[in-house]
């Protein structure tokens, strides 16, 4: 069975050792790296593509949140912090789990169980971490149905929410999975899995009806591309 590959990120060596020691009881986890701060962690994550992070929130210069925001593809995350739970709640993150230092073994076991369930059921669903005003979100790309351009920002629509991220549509288009996301015009990208109906307007341009009920106009050039995509 494939092991869950873990990176531990904490500025205190003893705190990292503690997590390693707790993980020793679980044979299906493998620690593939350790980082002392957000910058080290970013390099390591991009290089090793881990499945899971144990992440401290307070670290020098950049916090654990800053690190996640800077990643294009965010692995599963378990936060570990010395903050009490109320202080953590203030961050309004919908993370998989929080562990309070010092971590009790029973509590750690529960968190690990959760990870095992997630890791087997969900086939490496890629997600991002976004700060929207006061709230942080983990967003799976599979839930995003529309991306709109707003100057240097992009607005992501998912569920019944929308958030801004600091990235141009061109930058995003390069990163996104080709068969899933499609640039329909200069200002919009849609998730093809959300298409309900495609109709062709008299001049050959396409209109797309999404499952959400909204209709989008596809530019002439992109209409041709979309047609060709269907054929291949």
């Amino acid at each position: 069975m494939k092991k869950t590959r873990v990176i531990i990120i904490d500025d205190e060596r003893t705190a990292r050792d503690e997590v390693k020691r707790l993980l020793e009881n679980y044979g299906d986890f493998e620690v593939i790296g350790e980082a002392r701060n957000a910058d080290e962690a970013k390099t390591l994550i991009e290089l090793l593509q881990p499945d899971l992070l144990f992440l401290d929130i307070q670290m020098p210069e950049k916090s654990g949140f800053d690190l996640l925001e800077s990643l294009d593809k965010v692995p599963l995350v378990i936060f570990i912090t010395a903050f009490d739970q109320y202080a953590v709640k203030a961050f309004e993150v919908s993370a998989i789990d929080y562990l309070m230092k010092p971590v009790r073994e029973e509590r750690f076991a529960k968190a690990v169980e959760q990870i095992k369930i997630r890791a087997t059921n969900v086939t490496a669903e890629s997600q991002i971490f976004v700060k929207d005003q006061h709230q942080y979100h983990f967003i799976s790309w599979s839930k995003v149905y529309l991306i709109e351009s707003l100057d240097n920002y992009a607005r992501l629509y998912f569920d019944d929410k929308k958030v801004f991220i600091k990235s141009s549509l061109n930058q995003l288009e390069k990163k996104l999975e080709k068969g899933v996301f499609f640039r329909i015009n200069r200002a919009q990208i849609i998730n093809l899995h959300f298409i309900d109906k495609i109709s062709i307007a008299p001049e050959g341009r396409m209109n797309i009806l999404l499952k959400t009920g909204a209709v989008f106009k596809v530019s002439e050039r992109q209409s041709v591309k979309l047609k060709n995509m269907g054929r291949t």
């Binding site: 205190e12 060596r13 705190a15 020691r21 020098p60 210069e61 230092k101």
Partner: protein, 353 residues
Amino acid sequence: MKKNKTISLYWKCQFIGWSLASLYWSYLGFSGGRFNIFIGLLQFFSDVFVYVSITHLYRNFATKHQWQQLNLSQLLKRIIPAIFVMGLAYLMVTIVKSYVFRFWLLAGNVTSFSVFFALNWAAILMAGIRLMAIWLLAYHLYHYAQREINSAKENARLAIIAKDAQLNNLSAQLNPHLLFNSLNNIKALVIENPRSARRAIDLLSELLRTALYDGEVLLTTIKDEIALVKDYFELEKLRFEERLQFCIDADDCFDNELILCFSVQTLAENAIKHGVAKQKNGGLISVSIAVVHNFISISVQNPGEFNCITQTDGLGLNNLKERLQLQYKGKAKLNIINEGDGHVLSTLVMPRS
């Protein structure tokens, strides 16, 4: 706003009070027969005007000499002669006014002023003293009561601040974040370095003991405060390892000088929390304590940057400021500046006790 309100209350009392008195005199005149409505009105308005004026002059005099700030016995020493002076003033204006009215209105039937004066002065003076006594006592007692109420309120507020500062002691002086990080650290040390783990437990116990049981002690000796700060640094060094360097510089001839308990510790904790902990490679914290003339100066330097706009003072610093205010009543100063070379300097100056 508040001032307007008192002024308006004052003027209300002035006009209503003197109007009532004048109405009473009018009634006496009316019931005495020979009442002339024109004279009655003239008497009424002139009475109100004249007596409001002289008492208002008195009020200006008393305000100018800040009689409202005096204590009760000092105030009485001034009020009693003032009542007589005001009684005489009352006599003067009243007798002149009455004579002028008679002279004008009852032409032909007028006695000389000296005879009029001799006949009436005693009764008018007595009435004046009575009225002025009422006026002055009412005025000063009102202000005295107001002042008492305000000072009672102020005392209650200070007592609440003192209580709050005490209650906040434990969480302000040993923040929970430090406590849990240390416990986590000790948990790791138990396996990899039992000696250090044992040492850490000793240090943490000492810090806890001081915070829990010495919470009500306001002052401590420089020697004890330094010992506390050394324990604190040693404990944190077990956690931050090579990232934390510290040095403490204090002349031991000032060991027994008294300073505010937990004052250096709060600055040291801030230096770690906002300084060393935020630097990837950590840095050096220098603490120095010096006695200059009648002041004790404590300075703590750490790497980092103090952002006075976005960085709101934490619980620790706020608590320190409140306790400084309670203990030294504005004579202690806390200053935090960026030195420009990536260092922050916190300086605390307090008077020698």
